[in-house]
Amino acid sequence: MGAGHSHRLYRHGHSPVHALPPHTKLAAVLAFVIVVVSTPREAMWAFGAYAVLLAAVAYAARVPAGFLLKRLLIEVPFVAFAVLLPFVAEGERVDVLGLSLSVNGLWGAWNVLAKGTLGVAASVLLAATTELRELLHGLQRLRLPPLLVQIASFMVRYGDVITDEMRRMRIARESRGFEARGTRHWGVLAKSAGALFIRSYERGERVHLAMVSRGYTGVVPVIDEVAASRAQWSYALALPCAALVVCLLGWTL
């Protein structure tokens, strides 16, 4: 644990990508991923082109390749799924090295792997170059309901506080010689979870009091107005636009 640090993906830096306003980056990543997902899976070269585009962004952002690749591990469960697809999918089959594989399943596996990987890579680049609170500002700028952004920002602020409380409770348990080893210890762990809920809820009530005491009436004032110039927008949207060209070529070729 302790990995609860909400912004462990962020890599401090001063690259041009870091400097872009957060909402332009969010919009660019979202558009890029949509374009990738809409690309026909038969256009294999297109995915290669997308990877090159992302690599260029990573280079501009000075995000090392190793960092990016390590984070792609989150995909492992779906890689396993993808590997199985050729075996279980329906339709016409081909023999590869003595195994009977479904053609459709092979395409499906490729599809999931390629699109999933590109999606994760794009998100990792976003998270690596954008600070947490900036992301929240970006979400706010993109017209997410303010209440939802507030909830998210409270979650971000108190995620660490509550994870710490949970860690202290574990240390307290272990200091008294308790170590959870099997299902019969679930009761004790669940009691901790229950206590954690009560503490979290009561803290929520106290935070509310503290907010009200400082004049809160349901609206968090916007303190940092993030604005993006036309140049910054075009810079950020270069990625999805380039991807769109590739995608259109993929459909026509």
């Binding site: 990995a3 989150i74 396993a80 399943g105 509550i162 929520g204």
Partner: protein
């Protein structure tokens, strides 16, 4: 179970996104009412309590997903939290909190694709909370009033919520899956594995709700009716019907819509579960179950990560999981049927908003 990009095709992802957005919009309004219910008298209104309280509960869900529950031989599982959130803070706030957790996991940790966010919210936030809450409320009303009943109801609600989520995922995959896999296989694998995960989820949820109810029963949203008997008699308003009385007027109005919506969802889901559970293509369950197991086993490779998926190993009997799925299907049907009976027996609510609150139902 966070679906990545490219798993579900664009139109279905978009539809799920619209659905999720609608559900969140409705929940934003509903949550204000839910959190207002516990407002301290004398305090200045409840609308502004939503953000800090829901934010803290979301942080709690986020943290509790990292709490490892050892299963056996070095494996461990953790809570998904949808059912727990629904029972503790109510369905609207539950949907909000789990959605926010999913949203941040996707944006901050690249866990779950951005384009799949709608799908993930639909399956993991909306389905789990709505199904769990509907079942929970139904059971609490049917069972005798006691803390034990609340714990039992939590168990069943959480148990069903997880495979229900898997079923909705399968549905989405049926409509928008990018590979032509037999739906029977997907359903068996998904539901089979998730019934087992559901058992873990159910045990943890029930124990946790039990722990909260022992200390602060007033904080368990789903059990509010229990403590109200005395108060009702003092007020002298509903003296004649203390057993079926609504907990508090403010709380009663809102859950009813969710309740009915949830029941419709449960029924539809139950139909699907039973159908696929009985329509298992022979000889294929093994492959499908293997696939499920492999997937779970692989997940343990990343189990260090706080966001590693819940995993339970040692599912080697495909027929058993298929059978369990059937049992669940029947269970859902029975419980949902009982729920409908109860709902009909009460006054019919004029609920134009029920449609909005049953996203999973409208998705069918």
């Amino acid at each position: 179970m966070h679906a990545p990009d490219g798993f579900i095709d664009v139109p279905v992802s978009a539809a799920a996104g619209v659905l999720a957005a609608g559900a969140i919009a409705v929940s934003l309004r509903g949550a204000r009412r839910e959190l207002d219910d516990t407002a301290r008298p004398g305090a200045s209104g409840g609308a502004e309590r939503t953000a800090p309280l829901a934010g803290l509960v979301a942080a709690f869900i986020f943290a509790v997903q990292m709490l490892n529950f050892p299963v056996a031989a070095g494996t461990s599982g953790h809570l998904l939290g949808g059912a727990l959130a629904a029972i503790l803070v109510g369905p609207y706030t539950g949907v909000l909190c789990v959605s926010v957790v999913l949203m941040l996991q996707s944006v901050l940790f690249a866990d779950g694709g951005l384009t799949a966010l709608g799908v993930n919210i639909t399956t993991m936030a909306i389905t789990t909370t709505v199904v769990a809450y509907a079942l929970f409320r139904g059971l609490v009303k049917v069972l005798p009033r006691s803390r034990r009943s609340v714990t039992a109801a939590s168990f069943v609600a959480a148990l069903v919520s997880v495979p229900a989520s898997a079923v909705v995922f399968t549905l989405l995959y049926t409509v928008g899956g990018t590979t032509d896999v037999s739906i029977g296989k997907v359903a068996t694998a998904m539901v089979g594995v998730h019934v087992l995960i559901g058992l873990g989820e159910a045990a943890i949820t029930a124990l946790t709700v039990g722990a909260v109810i022992a200390v602060r029963p007033d904080l368990v949203h789903g059990a509010r009716g229990l403590g109200q008997k005395l108060k009702l008699r003092v007020n002298g308003e509903l003296v004649d019907a203390p057993e079926t009385a609504e907990p508090v007027p403010a709380a009663a109005r809102s859950p009813r819509k969710v309740w009915i919506a949830g029941l419709v969802t449960s029924l539809v889901l139950a139909g699907f579960v039973s159908f696929y559970a009985s329509a298992n293509p022979d000889g294929l369950e093994k492959v499908a179950a293997d696939h499920g197991i492999d997937k779970q086993a692989e997940e343990h490779a990343v189990a260090d990560s706080p966001l590693a998926d819940y995993g339970v190993k040692d599912v080697d009997d495909a027929r058993l999981s298929g059978g369990l799925a059937g049992v669940i299907g029947v269970g859902v049907t029975v419980v949902a049927g009982t729920g409908v009976f109860w709902a009909v027996r009460r006054r019919r609510a004029a609920d134009e908003r029920a449609e909005d609150t049953s996203p999973a139902g409208t998705s069918v």
